[in-house]
């Protein structure tokens, strides 16, 4: 039953509009591939490592073929053909290409069905590995268990993976359920994924497969110690969205930041590129049982939380539909929202409560990701700690899923060990002390809270209707999301988008799209 008296017919209509919006774009997606999508395929077929100039081999392979304008068949085809030709594994083939011992477009072509069969053989091994990771996670959750919801989610961001490990373990011991390793500034703009363990980053640590592995094993270790499975998060968004998703699937990450629009709006990445990339990345996440986190919270760090609340809901609905198209289940949709109301607002807490409860009711099965106050945090850490307390309170009152803990030093520096400890203490205290408050209270008919939620729903409904008519890309170009205007052909990475040929082949798309659950 709705505590807010929401009109669920309106919700259904809004959802239908979002579906149409997503379907409209899906047409475009289906016609394209991108350099990172192809590098992902290469990675999933086993290609890894870097050349003497530190260029990742997947880039070496894909760039070579793309420079000849022949990526429209997909890298899988070339690798398969080369496997048949050389009898070697993809990794060896990639190394041969790097050493210029082999030119993938210039070797004899084998029967296409034979090629496919060969590729699928190798792909199956990867599928097994990913399924095993998924099964391992489920095992851990069954045997070790997990913390109660909302999960306590904290970030580490030292720039040094080993220092991150210290901080992450300390946090787990204090009670954290989820650890996110924040990426180094601007990694999302790199059109390749760095390689190996790294110890120098700015405002975060590079997302590399080796760093994933190091952190994963540290968290498994501390998870045993504390008797809870500790989830690991990283960021897929950016110019390498599907590649990072693949790395996450291979290294048993549990959560991936992954939004259909974030890169466009906040990183000025080209629309087509982002839309194409997000699809494959989500297919992978879906199969690997990874929870995605979308980035609607970011809207409110730029735009006003009261005026622009409906854009958050509209975007959540669009993200949901894109996710469904990519085979993600509702239980994997960590849709984002954020406590970014100006603390001076009279009854601001009520408006926030309305928004959070609304998200809960409209997405009942999604492990919503709730982001802390950041914009209105100041150098007054004492006040900040209370802002974070109110944030925790809204969360427990509205039954949120994933609580990204606020830090009292948000406006000052990336978290110190003690900031994190205090954040965990704050959340644990409130979640326990108010455990069943949400269950216990109802909201006044037509009161401030109910009216606010209805208004936001109506505005989102209206916005989606408009987008349905105008098209998503056009809407973004007009600056209707987060006040940011992005032209259709502007932004980074458009040159990495390639129109597929009729014979285009990506083995993982079909293998994964069914989702692990359907096997």
């Amino acid at each position: 039953m709705s505590k807010l008296g929401l009109d669920f017919k309106l919700v259904e209509e809004a959802r239908q509009s979002a579906r149409n919006i997503a379907l409209d774009i899906q047409g475009l997606i289906d016609q394209h591939t991108s350099v990172t999508v192809e590098r992902t395929v290469a990675r999933l077929l086993g290609v890894d490592g870097v050349d003497p100039l530190d260029r990742p081999l997947p880039n070496v392979l894909v760039d070579k073929i793309n420079s000849e304008g022949r990526l429209d068949l997909g890298i899988a085809y070339y690798l398969g053909n080369a496997m048949l030709h050389t009898g070697q594994e993809p990794q060896t083939i990639a190394e041969m290409v790097m050493k210029e011992e082999l030119d993938l477009t210039r070797i004899p072509t084998h029967d296409f069905d034979e090629v496919k069969k060969k590729v699928l053989e190798v792909a199956q091994k990867t599928m097994v590995r990913i399924r095993k990771n998924r099964a391992d996670r489920e095992d851990f959750l069954r045997t070790l268990g997990e913390g109660p919801k909302p999960y306590l989610y904290v970030i580490v961001a030292t720039g040094n993976i080993y220092e991150d490990v210290n901080q992450a373990k300390a946090a787990a011991r204090q009670g954290a359920d989820i650890i996110a390793v924040i990426r180094s500034t601007a990694q999302s703009l790199l059109d390749f994924v760095p390689y190996g363990p790294t110890t120098e980053g700015f405002g975060g640590t590079f997302a590399t497969q080796e760093n994933f592995r190091i952190m994963r094993s540290a968290l498994d270790e501390v998870g045993q110690e504390v008797g809870r499975y500790i989830r690991l998060v990283n960021y897929a968004s950016g110019l390498c969205m599907p590649e990072i998703a693949a790395m996450g699937a291979l290294e048993r990450l549990d959560v991936m930041l992954n939004d259909a629009l974030y890169g466009i709006l906040f990183r000025d990445i080209n629309m087509k590129r982002t839309l194409v990339d997000q699809f494959f990345s989500r297919v992978i996440n879906g199969y690997a049982g990874i929870i995605i986190n979308t980035g609607e919270d970011n809207y409110l760090t730029t735009a006003d939380a009261i005026e622009e609340a409906h854009t958050v809901l509209a975007s959540q609905l669009i993200n949901e539909q894109f996710a469904l198209l990519a085979g993600l289940k509702e239980e994997q949709m960590g849709l984002g929202h954020a406590f970014e109301m100006n603390p001076k607002t009279e009854n601001g807490f009520l408006l926030e409560l309305a928004q959070a409860q609304m998200a809960r009711e409209i997405f009942p099965n999604a492990p919503l990701k709730y982001m802390p106050p950041t914009k209105y945090m100041t150098g007054n850490i004492f006040k900040g700690h209370v802002q974070d307390a109110l944030f925790n309170m809204v969360s427990i009152m509205t039954n949120q899923g994933i609580q990204l803990l606020g830090m009292l030093t948000e406006a000052i520096h990336t978290p110190f060990l003690q900031d994190r400890a205090l954040a965990i203490e704050n959340a644990k205290y409130i979640f326990n002390n108010m455990r069943d408050l949400g269950e216990e209270i109802t909201f006044k008919e037509n009161g401030i809270i109910q009216k606010r939620a209805r208004q936001v729903l109506e505005d989102a409904h209206h916005m989606l209707k408009n987008i349905e008519v105008e098209g998503l890309m056009e809407t973004i170009a007009q600056g209707k999301f987060a006040g940011v205007k992005r032209p259709v052909d502007g932004g980074k990475g458009l040159d990495g988008v390639v129109v597929k040929s009729d014979m285009y082949f990506n083995p993982f798309m079909d293998l994964m799209l069914g989702g692990a659950s359907r096997e």
Binding site: G159, N166, Q167, K169, A170, A171, R173, Q174, T185, A186, L189, F202, G203, F266, R267, D268, T301, T302, K375, G379, A411, H413, T414, F416, L417, Q418, A421
Partner: protein, 249 residues
């Protein structure tokens, strides 16, 4: 009662000169009496008398989080403090517009951006965009000012090129990410580029951001720096008055 000696001030808890101060920090040692004692010793080295560890707890194996109070023995000569400040009178939007009409008599061109890898736009937008910030309109809305906001992640080279193209009177640049002092080389590089182009005397160069102070900006070769809580009128007032002062009209 309150005859304070401003040449020797001390923190105030509830009585003049009681020197009371609060601290918190983490030591990379296991929790225990020894950790607390180490905390006290550290406070003593800082010149804190009667150090009191009011709270200590294990913060992940091998770390102890400490909250402490104590009495500072040092004093500061407040009467001798002089802080360099932006030396202009703040006018409101209308004041600035009138000033331009009367004393400059042409459009003032201001180019702004967040430079380097820094992707934070809210600060520069607060100063430049129509809408402004906290009820204070931004430069774009000022009559007599042509304001061009290039956004974020702008390479210094592009910013300078644009300023030349537009014949800018002022370049204003925002830096928000300051971790590991990444902003210092970036700000320095910008000044060097401007000097290399021989433009340094022909325009004002101004920096801003939550950790940027006037003092730091001047040290790095800027004309002025603006920190947290700045409004468009603060910068605008400074720019127009300084232009007149320097004869850049």
């Amino acid at each position: 009662m309150n005859n304070i000696d401003f040449t020797r001030i001390k923190p105030y808890g509830d009585t003049y000169n009681d020197g009371k101060i609060q601290l918190s920090f983490t030591l990379p040692v296991p929790y225990g009496e020894e950790a607390k004692e180490a905390g006290k010793k550290l406070l003593e080295k800082m010149g804190i008398e009667e150090p009191q560890i009011t709270h200590a707890e294990e913060a992940g194996t091998g770390f102890t989080f400490i909250v402490a109070y104590g009495v500072v023995s040092h004093t500061v000569d407040y009467s001798a403090i002089e802080v360099p400040k932006v030396d202009s009178e703040v006018m409101d939007k209308y004041g600035v517009e009138d000033f331009i009409k009367e004393k400059i008599k042409r459009d003032v061109v201001i180019v702004g951006a967040t430079t380097g890898f820094d992707a934070h736009t809210v600060g520069i937008d607060a100063i430049m965009n129509m809408k402004g910030y906290d009820g204070h309109y931004g430069l774009e809305r000022y009559g007599g000012i042509e304001a061009v906001n290039m956004g974020s992640q702008v390479p210094n080279e592009e910013l300078v090129a644009r300023a030349i193209e537009l014949g800018a009177d002022a370049i204003i640049v925002s830096q928000v990410v300051t971790q590991k002092d990444v902003h210092i080389p970036n700000l320095t590089n910008l000044i060097e580029l401007i000097e290399a182009e021989g433009l340094r005397d022909r325009m004002l160069v101004i920096a801003g951001g939550p950790r940027i102070g006037h003092e730091l900006a001047v040290e790095l070769g800027y004309d002025a720096g603006f920190g947290p809580g700045t409004y468009a009128e603060d910068v605008a007032s400074y720019v127009v008055q300084e232009m007149v002062k320097r004869g850049l009209v």
